[in-house]
Amino acid sequence: MTESVACTTEGVGAATSRANALRAAAVVGFFVLVSAGTIITDARYLYFSAYLWFGFIYGASLQYGRFCMASAVRDLFAVGVPRMAVGIMIAVVLFSLVSAAVTVAGKSTFHASPIGLYSLVGGAIFGFGMVFTGGCATGSLYKTGEGSVSALLVVLSLSFAQALFVDIGGVLDAVVPASWTASAAAKNMPAELSVTAGWYDQFLAGYVWNLKSVVVGDALGFSSPAAKAFIGNSLVNAVLPALVLLVAIYAIWYRKGWLRKNKLTAPTAGAEVRGWWSMVTASKRTAIAGLVLGVAAGLQMWVMQTLQQKFGISNAGELLTAMGITEGLSLQETVFDPGYFYVTTQEAQGAAWVLAKLGVNLDDNIFFGMENGIPSPLANPVLWMSFSVIGGSMFMAFLANEFKLKMPTLEIATWAIAGGILMGIGSRIGMGCNIGAFFATVTNGDPSGWIFLAGMTAGGWVGVKFFNWWIERKMAKEAPLGF
């Protein structure tokens, strides 16, 4: 017999079934056991647990708000729905304000990225790919937690594509500009990295490293740390651009429908403001998720920096060394440890670790060999965050009766893998995904994230055009009424 429950227009308002409540409790219990068990073994696992619990909060918030950056771009162009773009801008504003406070307190872990066209190109490839996968990098993690096997395929293909892409040579070496090769060679990198063989090494050492990074608060010449952080980094680089985008989104995608719904033909300025506010608050779930994500992402920097000071480290590699774990460290004895919300690099490490176990050598490049290392998943604190994003989402999905193990069809699986590979390539060219290369940058005074967003939007637009054409072609053949 079908168990039916009534829903609200905001989604599911059903009471949690007893079985799902128990499953949700089991998910939390698992992470509590991992967290407490490891800390009892060695107190330094507290550093791992910090990543783990922030990941859990992110996963729960993402699932609650159906918070997926892919849909921000895709749904805007495909179905004219601005709710996710609005949610992201709310999160950007909140994250930037909390980040500013964290920066003033001297607890920021953020490092700006260089400004360059690579962000545009990487963002465009990433944006094009994510239209086909059903989710961005974080969206695919949280949808994996809802039981979607196609989302898991996206995560896996994105991870392995990155791991292989940063090590690939052969024919790609032939397209590397000679100036990159010469510049990379002049850096006198360790011989074991062979930086003049392999295009990604030359892209990094011969191109990206030569670019300058910008922090708006510094560039505007403020002398006061508070003015730098709150006016330069937050207001100028995040809040004002977010408000401009929100006004543009209202004018292009929301205003017409709102005026029609409210039977307004000559709206006053006050009515326009009410309409704009109606758009901002249209999806409370998304707005609440944006608020929680923004605040939590800022707080995570504060917590990670505090723990780094507590343990006397500047990178988790030092912590692992002190714990007697040296396998998988980079030549600098570091591992990937951003200290804030980040997705993609840690998953590339996980894939590289699996490939290394299968005999594929991936540590003779800058990305793994010199910068990020290939620690085992058990010794990779940032990868713990990715696992717990899945866990947090699974917890919330059980509470909302929304967990469903869903196997993909061949068509969906093909889209997931192809899109995931493109997202993996795009994220490595763009130095991150929608989180690391956009969300974490624009909120910390680094304008490179807006370049990534511009590329991601352009790629998403092209992707939607292609996808619409594909669906219409397919349905004209298959559906009785066509489309």
Binding site: V12, C68, V79, G134, N401, P480, L481
Partner: protein
């Protein structure tokens, strides 16, 4: 598997997009609603929770009414949408 879009009776249509993930359900729904006349209803069956938020927002923006929403626990969502 393919999406099923059928006419059930006069003014009443059904779209079944179970098994599809984003962005398929919302795009199929938009295209199906474009086929309907004002006052027609669409019975929509889908099982991708995040599509629900987008479809709900799309209906609000375009002036279509979501007449009923039912969820089979852990299974499918069944919505009836009346075109405005």
């Amino acid at each position: 598997m393919a999406a099923k879009f059928e006419k059930v009776s006069d003014g009443k249509y059904q779209l079944d997009v179970q098994g599809y993930v984003c962005p398929h359900p919302q795009i199929y729904t938009k295209k199906a609603l474009e086929k309907l006349a004002s006052g027609d209803t669409l019975d929509l069956v889908f099982d991708n929770p995040s599509s629900g938020e987008s479809i709900s927002a799309m209906c609000a923006t375009e002036g279509n009414d979501i007449v009923s929403q039912v969820q089979d626990a852990g299974k499918a969502m069944r919505w009836t949408i009346r075109k405005g």
